[in-house]
C-alpha cells in the first residue's frame, strides 16, 4: 500500500517537473529548466527504486543527474541566455509539438485501456541489484556488452576528431 502511494507521488512529481522543464510559466531561464530536469531525473530514480532496480536508480542519479546535467549546464552557460529568453516561440512549432505529443499520448492511453492487465503473461519479475545485473551482463548479454565497448571506442574517436582544435 505504501509503495502504491509512493508510486503515485513520484509519478506525479516526475510529470510535473517534466512539464516545468519545457513550459515554465515563471521563468524562461534555461538554467531553471535544467534544474527541473535534475528533479525529474531524481523522481524517476525513485520510480526505479520502487521497481527494485536499485542499480539503475543509482546510475540514474550518478550519471544523468550528476554528470550529464553538469555537461548540460556548461553548454547552457556558453549560450547567450539573454537572447534565449527574448526568443519568441513559433506558433506552428508549438502547435505541431502539442498535436504530435497529444496524438501519441492519446493512442497510448487508448491502447492501455483496451488491454486488460491480467491477461496473458504476468509482468517479468525484475531483479535489479548490482550483482544480478553484473552476472547478466557477463553471461547472457555478453555479446551486446562487448559491442557496446566498440561503440564507446567509436564515440571516443569521434569526439576527439570533431572537437580537436586545429584542422591540420
Amino acid at each position: 500500500m505504501a509503495t502504491d502511494i509512493l508510486f503515485y507521488v513520484l509519478a506525479a512529481l516526475t510529470l510535473i517537473f517534466g512539464a516545468l522543464v519545457v513550459a515554465n510559466p515563471f521563468s524562461r531561464n534555461p538554467v531553471t529548466s535544467a534544474m527541473f530536469l535534475v528533479l525529474t531525473i531524481i523522481s524517476m530514480a525513485g520510480l526505479f527504486v520502487l521497481l527494485h532496480a536499485f542499480f539503475l536508480a543509482a546510475v540514474q542519479v550518478l550519471v544523468y543527474a550528476g554528470a550529464v546535467m553538469v555537461l548540460f549546464l556548461f553548454v547552457i552557460m556558453l549560450l547567450d541566455l539573454k537572447e534565449e529568453e527574448r526568443r519568441k516561440i513559433k506558433l506552428t512549432g508549438l502547435v505541431a509539438g502539442v498535436v504530435s505529443v497529444g496524438a501519441i499520448v492519446a493512442i497510448f492511453v487508448r491502447s492501455l485501456l483496451a488491454t486488460k492487465p491480467s491477461e496473458n503473461l504476468p509482468a517479468p519479475t525484475a531483479v535489479g541489484d548490482t550483482a544480478t545485473l553484473g552476472k547478466m551482463l557477463f553471461t547472457n548479454y555478453l555479446l551486446p556488452f562487448e559491442i557496446v565497448s566498440i561503440l564507446l571506442l567509436v564515440a571516443m574517436v569521434g569526439v576527439i576528431l570533431l572537437s580537436k582544435k586545429d584542422l591540420k
Binding site: Y141, I150, L161
Partner: protein, 492 residues
C-alpha cells in the same frame, strides 16, 4: 556457444583496431594507402567467405551463439557478403576522397570498418538487445562519418540533423522494445515468434511493434521517417553518403525482414495494408521530390527514398518470392549506387557543390566515367537489361502474384509503375547533362587511379551480370530467405 561462427565479425573489428593503431607508426604520407590495405583485407575476407573454407559459411555451418542472440543462417551470410563488398568498395572510394579530409584519414577508414562491423552484427541479430546495439553502432559511427569534413558548414549541419533525428528514432525504438518486452517477456526473436500469436489483439504490444517499426523505418528512410535523407546525403562526405545509401539501408532491411517475418509473423500477416500504404507513399514521395533537384547528391537522396519504397514492395508482398526479390534488388542497388557515388566523388573533386551542371562535358573529359554514370542512372531507372530492371521486375511480380489475396496489391503495383515513369524524367536529366550540355566549365581529362578503375569496372560488371545472368544471385537470395521461414533451424 560457438565462437567460430563469429570469426568474420571478430576479424573485421580487429582490422578496424589495426587501422586505428597503424596511424601511430605510419608516416603521414603513407597513411592514405592504408585504405587500400584495409579494402584488400576486406576483399580477402569476402573471398574466404565465398570459397567457404572457414567453418562459418559452409552449408552445415549454420547455428546460433550466445543463447540464440547471434544467428548464422543463409540470410545473415548473404547480407554479410553484401556488407563486405560494400565496405571494400567504399574504402577504395574513401582513399580517393582522402585528400579532401583535413585531419584523421586513418580514423576515417577505421570508422568505416567499425560501421561495417555493426552491419555484420545487424545481419546476425536475432534478439532485441543485439538489434538495438548493432543499430546504434552503425548510427553513431555514421554521425561522426557524416560531419567528418567539419570545416564545411553543410557537413556539420548534416551531422547535427542526423544526430537529432537519429537519437529521436532510437528513443522511439527503445520505447517500443520496452513495451514489447513488458507485454511478452521475450527478447529473443524465435521465442517471441512462439508467443506473438497470443498478443495479436493486445494493443500495448502492437503499440510497441509500431514504435520498433518507426525506428527501423528511419534507418531505411521510408515515409514518414525520411526527412533527414536529402540533407544528410547532400552534406556528408561522398564516401559516407555512399555507405549510408547502401550499407545502412541494407542493415535496416535485414533487421526489418527478421523482425517482421521471424519475430512477429502472426502480427505481420494482418498488416498488409499498412505496408502497402507506406510502400506506395514512399515511392511517390521520393520520385516526386527528386524532380526539381539540381544537386546530384540530393537527387540521389530522394531517389534512395524511392528505392526504399520499391524495396518495401517485396516486404509488403509477404511471400518468400517478395523477400528474395528484396535481396536481389539490394544487390543490384549496391553496384549501381556505389558506381554513381564514385563518379560523383571523382568528377566533383574541384567543385564546391555537386550541381548537375558540373557534369557538363563529362563525355569528353572521361568517357569511362560518363558511361558509368549513364549505366548507373539507367539501371536505377529500371531499364533492361541492367540490374535495376530485373530487380524491379521481380518485386512487381511478387506484388502482383499477391493481388488475388488483396486488391490493394494491384494499386501498389500501379503506383510503383507510375513511380518508375516519373523517375525516368530526372534520371535522364542527369544523362542529358553528361552528353548534351553546351557550356562545360572544364575540359581537363579526369585522372583515375588503378584501384579506382578496378572498382568502377567491377561495379559495371556487377550491374550487367545481375541484369543479364540473374540466376546465381537469385538462387542465393532464395535460399537465404528460407532461413526466415524455418526458424526451427535456428533453434537447434
Amino acid at each position: 556457444m560457438n565462437l567460430s561462427l563469429m570469426s568474420l565479425e571478430i576479424s573485421v573489428v580487429a582490422l578496424g583496431l589495426v587501422v586505428l593503431l597503424a596511424d601511430l607508426w605510419l608516416p603521414a604520407e603513407r597513411r592514405r594507402a592504408l585504405g587500400y590495405v584495409a579494402a584488400a583485407a576486406l576483399g580477402l575476407l569476402l573471398l574466404q567467405n565465398l570459397s567457404g573454407c572457414c567453418s562459418c559459411c559452409v552449408a552445415g555451418g549454420d547455428g546460433t551463439a550466445f543463447g540464440g542472440m547471434f544467428v548464422q543462417d543463409g540470410l545473415s551470410v548473404f547480407f554479410k557478403r553484401f556488407f563486405l563488398l560494400a565496405g571494400a568498395l567504399v574504402l577504395v572510394l574513401a582513399v580517393e576522397f582522402s585528400d579532401r579530409i583535413a585531419t584523421g584519414v586513418s580514423e576515417y577508414y577505421s570508422l568505416i570498418i567499425f560501421a561495417l562491423a555493426g552491419m555484420l552484427f545487424a545481419a546476425s541479430a536475432n534478439d532485441f538487445a543485439m538489434l538495438f546495439v548493432s543499430i546504434e553502432l552503425i548510427t553513431i559511427t555514421f554521425y561522426i562519418l557524416t560531419s567528418f569534413t567539419r570545416g564545411k558548414v553543410a557537413a556539420l549541419e548534416a551531422g547535427v540533423k542526423y544526430l537529432i533525428l537519429g537519437a529521436l528514432s532510437s528513443a522511439f525504438m527503445v520505447y517500443g522494445i520496452a513495451l514489447v518486452w513488458g507485454t511478452t517477456g521475450k527478447f529473443n526473436f524465435n521465442e517471441l515468434a512462439q508467443v506473438a500469436g497470443n498478443f495479436t489483439d493486445n494493443k500495448v504490444f502492437l503499440f510497441g511493434v509500431v514504435f520498433i517499426l518507426a525506428g527501423l523505418g528511419f534507418k531505411i528512410a521510408a515515409f514518414p521517417f525520411q526527412m533527414w535523407t536529402p540533407d544528410v546525403y547532400q552534406g556528408a562526405p561522398t564516401p559516407t553518403t555512399a555507405f549510408l545509401a547502401v550499407g545502412s539501408k541494407a542493415a535496416g532491411f535485414v533487421l526489418l525482414l527478421r523482425f517482421l517475418f521471424t519475430a512477429i509473423p502472426s502480427v505481420t500477416a494482418h498488416w498488409d495494408k499498412l505496408l502497402i500504404i507506406i510502400s506506395g507513399i514512399t515511392i511517390l514521395y521520393g520520385n516526386l521530390c527528386a524532380i526539381p533537384q539540381r544537386n546530384l547528391k540530393r537527387l540521389l537522396g530522394y531517389s534512395s527514398i524511392a528505392h526504399a519504397g520499391y524495396l518495401l514492395l517485396g516486404v509488403a508482398a509477404m511471400t518468400s518470392a517478395g523477400q528474395s526479390a528484396v535481396l536481389y534488388y539490394l544487390s543490384g542497388y549496391l553496384f549501381t549506387t556505389l558506381a554513381a557515388f564514385t563518379v560523383i566523388a571523382l568528377v566533383m573533386r574541384h567543385l564546391d557543390s555537386e550541381d548537375i551542371a558540373g557534369l557538363a562535358g563529362l563525355n569528353q573529359r572521361s568517357p569511362l566515367l560518363a558511361a558509368t554514370l549513364t549505366l548507373a542512372m539507367v539501371s536505377l531507372a529500371g531499364i533492361p537489361p541492367l540490374a535495376g530492371f530485373f530487380g524491379k521486375f521481380l518485386l512487381l511480380k511478387a506484388v502482383i502474384e499477391q493481388g488475388a489475396v488483396n486488391h490493394g496489391y494491384y494499386c501498389l503495383a500501379f503506383t510503383a509503375l507510375v513511380g518508375v515513369v516519373i523517375s525516368l524524367y530526372y534520371y535522364f536529366g542527369v544523362i542529358r547533362a553528361i552528353y548534351w550540355s553546351k557550356d562545360a566549365a572544364s575540359r581537363e581529362p579526369i585522372l583515375i587511379s588503378t584501384p579506382m578503375r578496378v572498382a568502377i569496372v567491377g561495379c559495371i560488371a556487377g550491374i550487367f551480370w545481375l541484369g543479364v545472368a540473374p540466376g546465381a544471385v537469385l538462387r542465393l537470395a532464395e535460399s537465404a530467405v528460407n532461413a526466415l521461414h524455418c526458424p526451427g533451424l535456428a533453434l537447434n
